[in-house]
Point group: C2
Chain length 441, copies 2
């Protein structure tokens, strides 16, 4: 017998899963829309040249590649590939539709991406990214708005304990310089610094030594990080370094604006925040919640990437929320609203025999017109069996249509929660059910 499992690292979403996912996506979209971000969708499949070379050697290996078709299939060559992130497609779109897109383009994109990572707990080969990017302006307002929007998403979803950790790429460089780490060792130093959360200061110190960084410089840097410096301390540490000073001024400008957003009080300067991706050029950020290792999203300013297909610099700042991680935490913490309808319907219409099915359909139409989600039981099974079905599906009400009800133009509504049974005129039954649903919350 053939396996019917989904492919390795992929998931089927049964109805309750879909409803939970759509609830979260709905909140994210709603907030982004209110911040003036516009929806963009790109194909799942890209020309392979569009993706190759954009994600480093490791990334190249994780790209799902699609075989050429027809006579070329036997060649084993790939000409297409599955979308690996939402940023490279944005860069392609910005280049392709220059005449159609505005000078200031704020877009959100919520779509799956595919990576051939080794599947593991919470690590999937198909997963959704929720990206928001603002293209075309270097104003600190851009950062403040992205951070504010992200904070509002999380607040609306019920998170209260999230922290937005921020830093600045140029300030990080300036800090490394001030610690005495030569420029050509910055990249390797940052790889080590990026592990501070995981392996601690001693671990990072050892790794830096093994990467050829002088013990004294490493110690100075780590002592600075350990002092949990705010921007004032950072300013003192970098002294009169021009790039560092500008970066601090930029962060201060952003922070002043952030005070007017939902991110107020949620932002912490973290001078050791490095972010893995090398393409950031300005302020960077990462959002963490208490009981989740790693972040639930991150982003920053990257003024060199979106213009890559145009061969020019286009300022941009973005953030990517990890839908799967948000769902993990919300499920563990039971954060979904009780009012989220997970059942297939609000009410099931049950006829007593086959001759009543037409009436059942008519009544179902009546109930639907008034906004109810209605499941009509399709077969003339015994009423007990029908009610048992509704109960097993979590459908809270059964509208029964027997001979008496058909004669009198009524419906007997059984509340499966309370077992109460009441008779209503067909025209007002919907209102009674809606009211009872409202009371259940």
């Amino acid at each position: 017998m053939q396996s019917t499992k989904p492919a390795s690292g992929m998931r089927d979403f049964l109805p309750e899963d879909v409803r939970r996912r759509e609830y979260v996506i709905g909140v994210i979209k709603n907030v982004y829309e209110h911040y003036g971000f516009e929806p963009l969708e790109t194909p799942a499949v890209e020309n392979i040249e569009t993706l190759l070379g954009k994600y480093g050697d490791e990334g190249n290996k994780l790209i799902f590649k699609i075989l050429k078709r027809g006579e070329h299939e036997a060649s084993g060559q790939a000409d297409l590939a599955l979308r690996y992130d939402l940023t490279v497609p944005l860069a392609r779109v910005v280049a392709q539709y220059q005449d159609k897109l505005p000078r200031l383009f704020k877009r959100y994109q919520i779509q799956p991406v595919w990576r051939a990572d080794r599947p593991g707990r919470g690590r999937f080969r198909e997963f959704y990214q929720c990206d928001v990017d603002s293209v075309g302006s270097t104003s600190p307002l851009v950062e403040a708005e992205v951070w504010g929007a992200v904070a509002e998403v999380l607040t609306r979803l019920g998170f209260t304990d999230f922290v937005i950790r921020i830093n600045h790429r140029a300030l990080l460089t300036s800090t490394l310089n001030a610690a005495g780490i030569p420029e050509d060792l910055h990249a390797t130093a940052l790889v080590a610094v990026d592990k501070l959360d995981k392996i601690g200061a001693d671990g990072v110190g050892a790794e830096m030594a093994s990467r050829g960084i002088a013990t004294e410089a490493a110690a100075k840097l780590l002592a600075f990080f350990a002092s949990r410096p705010e921007l004032d301390q950072a300013a003192a540490f970098v002294g009169d370094d021009q790039a560092g000073t500008s970066a601090i001024a930029n962060l201060r400008a952003i922070l002043r604006l952030v005070e007017q957003t939902a991110a107020a009080g949620k932002v912490r300067v973290d001078m050791s925040l490095a972010r893995g991706l090398s393409y950031y050029t300005g302020a960077i950020m990462e959002v963490t919640v208490a009981d989740l290792a790693g972040s639930i999203g991150g982003g920053g300013r990257y003024d060199n990437l979106v213009g890559m297909f145009l061969g020019q610099h286009i300022p941009a700042c973005g953030f990517s929320l990890g839908l799967e991680r948000i769902l993990v935490v919300m499920t563990e913490r039971n954060m979904f609203p009780a009012s989220l309808a997970l059942s297939p319907a609000d009410v099931m219409v049950a006829a007593f025999d086959a001759s009543g099915l037409g009436e059942a359909m008519r009544v179902a139409g009546l109930l639907r017109e008034q906004g109810l989600r209605v499941f009509v039981y399709p077969d003339a099974d015994k009423i007990g069996k029908q009610i048992k079905y509704a109960d097993s599906r979590g459908i809270p009400f059964v509208a029964m249509l027997g001979e008496n009800e058909r004669r009198d133009g009524t419906l007997t509504i059984k509340n499966l929660g309370t077992q109460a049974q009441d008779i209503y005129p067909q025209a007002t039954a919907a209102a009674a059910i809606i009211e009872a649903l409202r009371q259940r919350g």
Copy 2:
């Protein structure tokens, strides 16, 4: 320079495209939900064995196949493939989650599928299918509900001229028998009959002759079709053939129930309707609109397919709406509601200088809280340039925040449609804009 076009046959959806697509998908989902169908989502990528051999030889060639990864990449072998339709994944899901899924399972699924067809006008390699299927019952109510739901979707989208053409697979067989076409030529005969719309009766007659069907039998069949028979004439034509008589009884039972649904008055019996796919076993249907060649969707009962992975028969009836074709017709006919917001925001907040950006963000928060979609202009450009930007983006209102407004706690609201400019207290500006938006419709 690298090409930035999407891959051949694939499309990017810019914001206005996405909004139109989401509007249509929203209507479809809403109706299906009210009919008690539940959402299902399956991965874009399936194990290749799940798909191969399910769509015939032609279909096999059109499947996008994914290269094995890592050391196997050089082998040119494929182990995964892109979803080709939504029915085979449903069959897989029904087999995989027998213990979790209900005996009667009504699901809808709205996701893209990929086919390596030659791209052409209105033919894409990535396109959305909107499937609705009812699994587990043979009741005629199942068909009536599917047809009713589809009719309600189209009515809600503003279609008034659609026709649901119906037939029955067993009745078609019975008709071919009655015309004197031997069983072993039925399949080839149906391939010809399927082209009746395209090549007319003479063309079909010629093709049938070339396929070895006796002229007399072909003529009898085509004359019967040409008489536009209703079920009474069909009953007379098939005489006392058991299968044909049962099929007619089944169609009559469905039609009686359909009278209670949104499909009432929209259904036409079409004895020549064959539907290409060979897996149908009962009533079949196809929906057409006046000025579109071909259908905008089709479906029917197929009692042998959903259980294929289980090796058992599971009754099922479904319908697949073609989102891309609906969008083509709606765009040509300008059927989108005027109230569909295509602009990036309801209002743009404009500060006069950089020192006003914080206030602009605060005011934006105030307007958003009251439900408005707000775009904050990020740079301290001249006010004329800012207003020009809003106008070019179709943002209907600009909220200006100069020195006076900041001092007085007011906002000057410019209506870009009428050029009228009014001053409001900041707290009540949102209400004024909402009212003005309402009046614009």
